[in-house]
Amino acid sequence: MDAGVSYNQMVVDQVDDARLDRLFQAFADATRRDILARVITGEYSVSGLAAHYAMSFAAVQKHVAVMERASLVTKEKRGREQIVRPDLEGVQKARRLLEEYELIWRQRVDRIADILAEEKE
């Protein structure tokens, strides 16, 4: 199953994330990563998700809204509940775009290295 493969990859990715999380306190992305991991493996409503976090329902709803805007999840109304589903295509697309963006930084650090090397000549 594709979702399973993607999830396993994400688990692998997350192993190195402790350091990233520290760097990233300002952006509180660990919650969003956790939300995505949950909705890939099981069915959750917004209130079902909120029960897992020490934050308000509104705060969790805000995280879900950010993820929805980023095309990482979709929301589906069922009665009074809102079911949150992963948008795996969106996740793959984001990964592709980040790969392109990475090339910009590869070139930037090469240029910085060139500038620093000038003084040594």
């Binding site: 190195d16 994330d17 952006f27 980023a70 996740v91 392109e100 590869r106 930037r108 650090v109 290295a113």
Partner: protein, 165 residues
């Protein structure tokens, strides 16, 4: 070797990029602090950057433009949100109109840059977070992507040359 590692996090729409340089932390800090050095590396050689303003203090702003080979100018801005010289810089950046006014439609990118000494070298870690996949896509489409493709062409050309002694 300059490049150390990179980590793409699609869930957080972030990229972490780690590089090391044979220079002191203070020297690497200068390539960010000095606008004349900054503009030599921020944009690709075919889209050179010109920083018209570079207030390198907390709350300070920077305005710059990148010039295409055809002479077209793409304006951008920075807002410095935190500085702890010479170790840590946090800034937001985005695109602007021709008067340097931020383009709100495009949203801002949030970045944290840290420098540390690792075995006598300076390790630079940059973490960039985008607000949406659309924003990232737009940024890549607007000139930068072209710059990257040209940059890749340059690398290919270099690799094709016989190695110099």
């Amino acid at each position: 070797m300059t490049f150390i590692s990179s980590h793409q996090d699609p869930e957080a729409l972030s990229l972490t990029f780690v590089a090391e340089f044979d220079a002191s932390v203070e020297r690497v800090w200068q390539v960010w602090e000095d606008p004349r050095q900054l503009e030599r590396w921020w944009g690709p050689p075919t889209y050179p950057a010109t920083f018209q303003r570079h207030e390198f203090v907390p709350g300070g702003s920077a305005n710059y433009y990148m010039t295409s080979p055809e002479g077209e100018k793409f304006h951008g801005w920075w807002k410095i949100t935190a500085i702890d010289a010479p170790r840590r810089l946090e800034y937001d950046d985005g695109f602007a109109d021709e008067n340097g006014v931020p383009d709100d439609k495009m949203g801002a990118t949030h970045s944290v840059m840290t420098l540390e000494t690792v075995e006598g070298r300076t390790r630079m870690t940059t973490v960039t977070v985008f607000e949406s996949a659309e924003q990232l896509q737009q940024m890549l489409e607007m000139g930068m992507e072209e710059g990257v493709r040209e940059g890749m062409g340059q690398i290919d050309a270099l690799l094709a040359e016989p190695a110099r002694a």
